[in-house]
Symmetry: C2
């Protein structure tokens, strides 16, 4: 890859530098042309930075700021108190061209709001949307948006999400004419809110989009659509429900294997092999690998990691940011929307 600099909010997320620094170290090890500008509390970060190899430290610039945005602050307060915070400085580094993308695991509402102020939205974008790749049972992925950036969304907004998601799927998943669906509580025309039913009618008239109708949330992971569109409240509820179910079942399976009296016997090795096999299959749907939601609609790549992300999960968020920069997602969205609207 070409030289690439990422701005990283070291403090964001539930575990701060304890997770973000080991994760960026993994990314540095994987990508020799990658460097980071880090923003955070030097004192808290030092113990984790000090253990990194020298060749990685050379590719890290640390900007000390003791100030962070509380994950629990309401949006307006967070915005008012954002000056000099690690999240804001990271976004500013992207805005002024020092970095090509930004990653944060901090307050989602603040990240959205600040990104909109500091990083120019693309022309004609009503509101950016949080999009992510969700895993399917067949080992592939679907794009899903919005995941919480817009708690409420009218029909115009949902259609723009559909357009952006469509382009994101084309570029990131190498698809031609991705199958597009609206998340709803049934597949019949009569189901859902007035907004969803209106959006459905309007999308049915769009020949430039491969709209296949409604999708129910029990089919989220069955790869029945390449792009799944919903408002941010619904998307957040649906995705967290899937994540929670997957994590719970994995932990149940783990406990079930560990606690087994047979496991403690001589047959341990055999059992381990089998459970490992199941695990490996189940890891296709492990949320870690799909951590990292992108604010689509901005002129630069901004990736939000899950607040509770592990080192591994945070690494994937960084990895997704790199992939999107390399594939020039913001440019592609801009060009794609232009093309769509010229053809309308």
């Amino acid at each position: 890859m070409n030289r690439l600099t990422l701005a990283l909010d070291v403090m964001g997320g539930d575990f701060g530098p304890r997770v973000t620094i080991p994760a960026l170290s993994l990314a540095l090890a994987k990508n020799p042309m990658l460097s980071f500008i880090l923003f955070g509390d030097q004192r808290q970060a030092s113990p984790f930075l000090n253990v990194l190899p020298n060749d990685q430290l050379k590719r890290i610039q640390f900007v000390h700021t003791p100030h962070t945005i509380d994950a629990n602050l309401p949006f307006m307060q967070a915005l008012r108190k954002s000056k000099g915070s690690s999240m804001r400085l990271a976004l500013e580094a992207v805005a002024n061209g020092e970095a090509q993308g930004c990653i944060s695991g901090g307050n989602t509402a603040a990240l959205m709001g600040l990104a909109k102020i500091l990083i120019e939205p693309l022309p004609n974008i009503k509101r950016p949307a949080l999009a992510t790749l969700i895993p399917s049972m067949d080992g592939k992925s679907s794009v899903m948006l919005d995941l919480g950036a817009n708690v409420e969304a009218d029909s115009d907004l949902l259609i723009q999400f559909a357009e952006m998601g469509n382009i994101f799927a084309e570029v990131m998943l190498d698809l031609v004419y991705p199958r597009l669906a609206l998340l709803n509580i049934g597949v019949e025309n009569s189901k859902g809110t007035q907004t969803i039913r209106n959006t459905d009618k309007r999308l049915q008239q769009r020949n430039d989009l491969n709209y296949i109708g409604f999708l129910e949330s029990d089919k989220l992971m069955n790869h029945m659509a390449d792009v799944i569109v919903c408002d941010g409240f619904t998307g957040n509820i649906a995705l967290k429900a899937v994540e929670g179910a997957a994590k719970n079942i994995l932990s149940l399976l783990k406990r079930s294997s560990e606690g087994s009296f047979i496991c403690q016997s001589a047959k341990r090795y055999l059992l381990r092999a089998i459970f490992y096999r199941s695990y490996r299959k189940l890891q296709q749907i492990n949320p870690d690998r799909h951590n990292g939601a992108t604010l689509l609609g901005l002129s630069s790549v901004v990736v939000k990691s899950h607040g509770g992300a592990s080192t591994n999960a945070y690494f994937y968020a960084i990895d997704h940011a790199i992939g999107q920069i390399q594939r020039q997602i913001p440019d592609k969205i801009w060009q794609g929307l232009n093309k769509l609207h010229q053809n309308l």
Copy 2:
């Protein structure tokens, strides 16, 4: 148990009599004092009725009607075309006292609408809500409502759902002062829609309810609350997402065990035992056992089965209806709401 008669819409659900009749046969076998009035197409039902033992047939009264409500009909059309349908006749049997409760797997909107017209709502009930018991990882259950009866819900409605859910949990789960939560996309006060934030403020002032705040959908099955309240759209999305994830993971696990080369070897017996153990644990969260949502707020018990329910799952829906009639849920809701409002 005392003598008990249930009205059953034989045709409702994706599979009609193929599922409903074997399921009611299981219920008859379990409960010697139970009898059914069935409504449906005699010709379609006969092959499944004919194989039932004589002592069960004696406890079945069949009312022939060729007319069913299409699951895909919009609400108003379904209502207009409901006269003489299996679903409507089943509800009428409850309304005129021939049966003490009704089960249907048909069109949810039609069932809701007809139930409200035909079966008296309890005094002061704004709108009935679909409630169900959802399984927790610890083997216990939580009450969740609404699951789709009210696609949109204002703060007054959500609070009434909370009150009804509270009483349902007290009676069906034998709880004192059940923990009550609002489903939301975060736990901070600032998260969610205006309606949810308003409801949160109002519930915080209620000393008669054990309100514990917001719950995120990844914790749905972690038994952090006994009653989980949301509008019908959100509840439907969340619950189906969990169901879908659980089903997908179980099927992955099954395939993984069946396909294993070791399984085909001599160690088969051992492996089966272990997988059976995992399965049994996982079956705590198998949606089948928790099939059956109840329309809370009516003067009689009306249970909606999942449209795609298997025989086993449909049996559980019947079983839940029996449990609720025996515990006199409608009376308890009425008494409980009266008591709550006297104390306000």
